[in-house]
């Protein structure tokens, strides 16, 4: 197992390099374009030339990437082309906002969709059909449209919640909850719709296995089979579903932050991209890729720990 994990770790690091390099090359490829955007379209060629040199965009791409990477190792991701704010500093205020919405939603999604998915698979019948309908409906409506509908109903019509804005959890827990409640619901609906369906499939797949039939033939009680054996064996595919949910939520958060004007990293990326503040964009890309890789690696580790075949190897 150690060998397998080391191999995976190496692969993850390699992927990290390749992805960041590709994105870096795409974004820093056109130094003059960036300088133009920063200065505005009325800038003189001389001013652009000077800006390119000032921002170091005239250097070879590999040198720039090397510098950026070297800085990244020490936590220095460069500075904003506009405000001069340190990218790491900006991220350190933005990432917690996103996570404070995504992590509670993830926990809720996991609990609700495991309950729904398992009940649908085991019980069948009405619950099963309800889960299927929810899953089609929930995946059909994009999360930001759900968010708009929520703003429309609960914030504008009934004024139950603030429509926009964010309060830190440490400042006021109740105000924080009020500011993240609607964003969380908007994310939750789509996430549960797709995760419950996938849990259902994983459990149904396990119930169809030969050893479940044999356990039944031995006279083992159905509840014991479901809780003792089916769920245990469906845990590995279930973990994969959870990891996919993390990615779905992070992607969804970008839109949700836009609707509710939450100062998270999705909003930072969006704002920075529109003004060609490439160091900021690059910083958010790095954080996102890191999260993806860490989640993938942890999922793989957990699945390996669950699997006796990998454990005893």
């Amino acid at each position: 197992m150690t060998r397998h994990l080391l191999f995976n770790l190496g692969r993850s690091v390699l992927v990290l390099f390749v992805v960041t390099f590709i994105v870096f090359a795409l974004m820093y490829g056109d130094g003059y374009g960036i300088a133009y955007s920063v200065l505005g379209l009325t800038a003189t060629p001389e001013a652009v030339e000077a800006k390119v040199v000032a921002l170091g965009l005239d250097r070879p791409l590999l040198t720039q990437f090397g510098d950026w990477l070297g800085g990244a190792f020490t936590g220095d991701l460069g500075r904003s082309f506009y405000t001069g704010q340190s990218v790491s500093e900006a991220l350190s205020t933005r990432v917690p906002v996103t996570l404070s919405v995504v992590i509670p939603t993830l926990v809720l999604t996991a609990v609700i969709s495991v309950l729904l998915g398992v009940t649908a698979a085991v019980r069948g019948g009405v619950v099963d059909r309800v889960v299927q309908v929810i899953s089609v409906g929930g995946t059909a409506v994009p999360s930001f449209i759900v968010a708009i509908a929520l703003v429309f109903t609960f914030a504008i019509r009934w004024r139950f919640f603030p429509a926009t804005g964010y309060t830190k959890l440490s400042d006021s827990p109740t105000a924080w909850l009020a500011s993240v409640a609607l964003p969380m619901v908007a994310l939750l609906i789509g996430a549960v719709a797709s995760a419950a369906q996938q849990f259902r499939t994983a459990v149904l797949d396990t119930i169809g296995r030969d050893y479940v039939r044999t356990l039944r033939a031995r006279g083992v009680r159905e509840s014991n089979i479901i809780f003792g054996h089916v769920l245990r064996n469906a845990a590995a595919p279930g973990l994969t579903v959870i990891s996919l949910t993390v990615f779905g939520l992070l992607g969804g958060a970008v839109f949700i932050e836009q609707v509710f004007v939450l100062p998270g990293m999705g909003q930072l990326a969006n704002m920075s991209a529109q003004i060609s503040d490439v160091p900021m964009v690059m910083g958010t890309v790095l954080v996102m890729v890191l999260i993806v890789l860490v989640v993938n690696f942890t999922t793989d580790l957990a699945i390996n720990l669950l699997n006796p075949k990998a454990r005893t190897r």
């Binding site: 059909a140 245990r232 064996n233 992070l250 609707v259 006796p308 075949k309």
Partner: protein
């Protein structure tokens, strides 16, 4: 699983004619409704210059923020004074183009690389696998946002990038299908005939890949609509365009002034995505799942059973017991089992079977695969697949009808009837040690302490030829051989000292040398413990070796039932004679091979 009802003939299915697929799609109301909406959107998009009364950006400033139903503006006018219906019509065009770009890019990239990787494998496959990993590690949305810096407000470019990000889903799908098809007989045959690789790909592989790719595409298109809307909503689209996403964004910005505006684009986007998803589901029902049996909901199940019972050939003469009734331990009467057909009628696979097993007797049940013998074995234990329908019949254990009484069946299962499965490796739970599974099974049947159960099982393991039971109990299923797994499963079946064992092809999955040993174990068990046994097999050699009596099955019926000596020396039915003749010629061939 060896049942006809649950096998899925993938390739045969893929070759079904286009005409019948279309006919079945049209018969599916869900598919028709979705298709009408989708074609409507396409048509509106294509005809936008003629359908729209004006340019999307023409302003009617006098009527700014006019509500729906305003004369000349059926859906009203937006906060910039533009006609909403007009913009929706032009938006259909933009959305259709965006979706076309996503689909074309991802299909072109994913399908072609998937075909090559699946067909040639080797280095190309490993490199493509790594690239797939890289692409899947890219944070999709953030990347699209990041590349805005590169492409500017150009939704089609963003859609092309999104297409690249989605290509791995096609790659994986196509590659795995091609790997499957590649190993199938007909491609081998085509190779032998000397067809070139490309003609093989064209003729066979593309056929198999076609349906799944089409189904996948409808889901990709759905996500394309969502992403176009999302990217535009984030403000990355061209603000002068009238795509549905731009409309969403602009109307959301004026949501306090004119809340109703946001409704129209939100509706068309959601309905279009819903139509694509539902159409994809309907397509996959028609193209893929029709050969598979489904679990009927309770009402349809009752109706199907009632109809099937109605069609039965009336109460014939009272079935007569074949053996002396005190001696018979298990007796099956008029057993009929079926599976739901696509039209919710019952497709019978066992057509009224009578069978008697006396105490201590080994009764062979032979027949080709698909003749219904495993179905009979499963029904005695109540472990038929969920979708199976027992149309009629009785399974009498010592005079009690198990089919009529679920609690009796549950009591008998594992305690009085033991089960030895066909495939040893898949019948042990991979997550638990042998010991834990055996102990749990025994204690479910006979309440006793863990220590007692363990002790009894260790003795039994020794009696089936496992010399170090203590060590084996601590192992996981993947750590033991198939032969040993089958011994373990036999122990599991006999530990509760049942009256009868149902063994479903217990040696088929084993090596020849191990087969003989397992048969020997079964014979000894029957002799020593006086256990009766139903031995399901397709191997007449096994029957001759082990059984006292035998029933020959064909197409869900028992065609002949007799003592083993009698059947082998004097087969009455033509089918039995054929079976004997063919098994002899197989034996001759095998002898010549050695």
């Amino acid at each position: 699983m060896t049942d006809v009802a649950t096998t899925i003939p993938l390739t045969g299915d893929a070759r079904r004619s286009n005409k019948s697929v279309l006919r079945r799609l049209v018969a599916n109301p869900q598919a028709v409704i979705c298709l009408v909406w989708l074609l409507g959107v396409l048509l509106v998009g294509a005809l936008a210059p003629w359908l729209a009364t004006s340019d999307p950006n023409t302003t009617f400033l006098a009527e700014t923020n006019a509500g729906p139903g305003t004369p000349g503006h059926p859906l009203g006018v937006d906060s910039a004074g533009r006609d909403v219906l007009n913009r929706l019509i032009w938006g259909a065009r933009e959305s259709a183009m965006a979706v076309a770009v996503v689909t074309v890019v991802s299909v072109a990239l994913g399908v072609s690389t998937g075909l090559i990787a699946g067909f040639y494998r080797g280095r190309f496959e490993s490199i493509a696998g790594f690239i797939t990993d890289v692409v899947l590690s890219m944070p999709g949305i953030v990347l699209l946002i990041a590349l805005y810096a590169l492409t500017g407000p150009d939704v089609l470019a963003a859609m092309a990038v999104y297409g690249v990000l989605l290509a791995p889903s096609y790659y994986r799908l196509v590659r795995s299908i091609v790997l499957g098809v590649r190993n199938e007989l007909y491609v081998d045959a085509a190779r032998v005939v000397g067809l070139s690789d490309w003609r093989i790909v064209g003729r066979h592989v593309l056929w198999a890949v076609r349906a799944p790719v089409i189904i996948q595409s409808s889901f990709v298109m759905a996500s394309g609509i969502g992403i176009e809307a999302g990217v535009s909503f984030l403000g990355l689209g061209d603000p002068t365009s009238s795509s549905w996403g731009i409309m969403l964004q602009q109307s959301f910005n004026s949501i306090y002034n004119n809340p109703i505006l946001v409704l129209w684009p939100a509706l068309v986007v959601s309905i279009t995505i819903l139509a694509l998803i539902l159409f994809g589901n309907a397509l996959s029902d028609v193209l893929q799942a029709s050969a598979r049996s489904k679990v009927l909901p309770p009402r349809a199940r009752r109706r199907a059973l009632a109809a099937a019972r109605e069609a039965l050939p009336g109460p014939t003469t009272e079935p007569t017991p074949l053996g002396s009734s005190d001696d018979v331990i298990l007796s099956i009467r008029d057993l009929r089992i079926g599976y739901p057909a696509p039209d919710n009628s019952v497709n019978q696979v066992v057509h009224g079977v009578d069978l008697d097993v006396r105490r201590g007797e080994i009764h062979g049940l032979v027949g080709e695969s698909g003749s219904g013998k495993s179905q009979i074995a499963f029904s005695t234990l109540g472990i038929l697949p969920k979708e199976a329908l027992v149309v009629s019949g009785h399974v009498m254990l010592d005079g009690e009808d198990l089919l009529a009484d679920d609690t009796k069946l549950a009591e008998a299962r594992g305690t009085r009837i033991g089960y030895v499965p066909q495939e040893p490796m898949t019948n042990l739970d991979p997550s638990f040690t042998i010991g834990r599974q055996l102990v749990k099974g025994l204690r479910a049947a006979r309440p006793m302490s863990k220590a007692d159960a363990r002790k009894r099982l260790e003795e039994l393991l020794v009696s089936v030829g496992i010399t170090d039971p203590d060590r084996v109990m601590g192992l996981y299923p993947h750590e033991i051989s198939g032969g040993m797994a089958q011994r373990v499963l036999i122990c599991g079946a006999i530990a509760s000292q049942p009256d009868i064992i149902v063994a479903d092809e217990p040696t088929t999955a084993l090596d020849v040398t191990v087969q003989a040993e397992v048969l020997e174990i079964l014979r000894n068990l029957s002799l020593e413990r006086g256990m009766a046994m139903i031995l399901v097999t397709h191997n007449l050699g096994v029957v001759a070796d082990l059984c006292d009596t035998v029933s020959v099955m064909k197409d869900g019926l028992i065609v002949e039932s007799a003592d083993v000596e009698e059947l082998f020396s004097n087969p009455r039915e033509e089918y039995t004679q054929q079976l004997l003749a063919s098994s002899r010629s197989v034996e001759l061939m095998e002898d010549n091979d050695e």
